[in-house]
Amino acid sequence: NLSDRLEAIYKKLKGRGVLKEPDVDEALREIRVALIEADVSLPVIKDFIAEVRVQAVGQEVLKSLTPGHQMVKIVNDHLTHLLGEEFVDIQIASKPPTIILMAGLQGSGKTTTVGKLAKRFKEKGKNCLLVPADVYRPAAIEQLHVLGRELGVAVYDAGEEKDPVAICKKSLDEAVNKMSQVVIIDTAGRQQVDDALMEELKQIKETVQPHEVLFVADAMMGQQSADIAKTFNDAVGIDGVILTKMDGDARGGAAFSIKRVTGKPIRFIGMGEKLDALEPFHPDRIVSRILG
């Protein structure tokens, strides 16, 4: 792992004292490899390495650490700091309902996550209205209705309406009738380069004025995660991120790329398919995964 590789590099160093430039650069080469293997986007790695370099060169090696461990500590601390040091929950709007809009690529876990969020809100005593605005995927609307029935949570019935923007608009009237405290809108998966669907997403946002736009991203995403997140953020403005499928063995570098380019907090992680598999995000576990 990275720690061992850095230790091997620094075995050659004679004394302690101060972290010197050539030694730091050699370590940074190893760190770059680790981050690439962890799926952190290349431009994000470049900036990160430059920042770590500035911090590390000339730094006094602490008496309790070896130079290798010191480098790992600098990298670890900086990555933890950048990922957001503490859990930040979705804010409840001062005037109900709190409107949450889900967005993301196809298959990232949006519909399932709507169910998980609904369960969490219900357990906190908030009644929800789930809005099925994915009119494209076969049985997507039914999928949300099944989750609603399973949880005992209301799901908006759009009847004959086929336009996602109209469905969302009408659902807000229904939320008023039902006195729903939270409205969660499930949208169709879309590629960030699909102009028509990105335009639809903008229109939905414009129409419902959500308090929270959640970007739902697969933790296993590769190099494109930075570009994808940036495009979604530029198009509709993300307020928070949910990283799904963290119950696998993906290193999860996408978490860092997404956080870095959007600046928005990772709120939750999905840890399985069941509706109770949603956990508040804490950076420490993912930092050790990313660094391998």
Binding site: P138, E150, Q192, Q223, I228, D249
Partner: protein, 278 residues
């Protein structure tokens, strides 16, 4: 990149970045570039244009060596078991494949083997209905092996050409769910010896190096016969295929390039490489 200019170290750095950004991965990128780097340093390639051509040829070669088309003629029905992680595009790919083969005059039968996820059975049934294809299903919560058994039996009795079995998505590290797939293979093999004739692993192009773990572990558990890579209509290039096909010697049967029924293409190494290194 720069045509007839004399090759410099910048070109190789640029190519390394292009490959890494395409999810080719660290080790495989080094492997692909190493011969090229040596030839450049020994002055045996002098122009950028030549470097690019050599590189593309090498990449096409890696992808081509395991390519061979699916052939159904020796088996009736030819049974395909479709597997992969959650959300990779299995159900959609089955819908596209079924319609494609039906249009070629084949008799296709589908099996709704995802008895776990909300509305998974409904989802496959919609695809089946749209192409007027029979779909075997049981109620939600039924055993995958029971559905698969029914489907293969029905495929044999009705003299179908193809039986395609959908399964629930699962992460390759979930031992119990991988055991479930091993069991269904055994059950299918008892009904029809030699079946499933194709275990098809569906990979999502947007996923990074974890696709390698997916391919390895699904292969270890089930002996995968072929791959499908979906979502190549996005910006992800699917570079993990160099490592996976090279290492596991697997053919890529099809690629998914969108959500509509017609968004299915044959995998052509030259086109794939051209999209990666324009």
């Amino acid at each position: 990149v720069h045509g007839r200019a004399k090759v410099g170290p910048e070109l190789l750095e640029e190519l390394e970045e292009t490959l890494l950004i395409a999810d080719v991965g660290m080790q495989t990128t080094s492997f692909i570039l190493e011969d090229l780097k040596r030839e450049v340093s020994q002055n045996r390639i002098r122009e950028n244009k030549e470097v690019l051509e050599q590189l593309k040829q090498r990449m096409v070669h890696v992808l081509s060596q395991n390519q061979k088309p699916l052939s159904f003629s020796e088996h009736q029905p030819f049974v395909i078991l479709v597997v992969g992680v959650n959300g990779s595009g299995k159900t959609t790919t089955i819908g596209k494949l079924a319609r494609h083969w039906k249009q070629q005059g084949k008799k296709v039968l589908l099996a709704a083997g995802d008895t776990f996820r909300a509305a998974a059975i409904d989802q496959l049934q919609v695809w089946a209905e749209r192409s007027n294809i029979p779909c075997i299903s049981q109620k939600s919560g039924a055993d995958l092996s029971a559905v698969a058994y029914d489907a293969v039996q029905a495929g044999m009795a009705r003299e179908m050409d193809l039986v395609i079995i959908d399964t629930a998505g699962r992460l390759q590290t979930n031992t119990n769910l991988m055991e479930e797939l091993k069991k269904v293979k055994r059950v299918i093999g008892k009904v029809l010896p030699g079946a499933p004739h194709e275990t098809l692993l569906v990979l999502d192009a947007t996923i990074g190096q974890n696709s390698i773990s997916q391919a390895r572990l699904f292969n270890e558990a089930l002996e995968v016969d072929g791959l499908v890579m979906t979502k190549l209509d996005g910006t992800a290039k699917g570079g993990v295929l160099f490592n996976i096909t090279g290492d596991l010697k697997l053919p890529v049967r099809f690629v998914g390039v969108g959500e509509k029924p017609e968004d299915l293409q044959e995998f052509i190494p030259e086109n794939f490489v051209e999209a990666l290194i324009p």
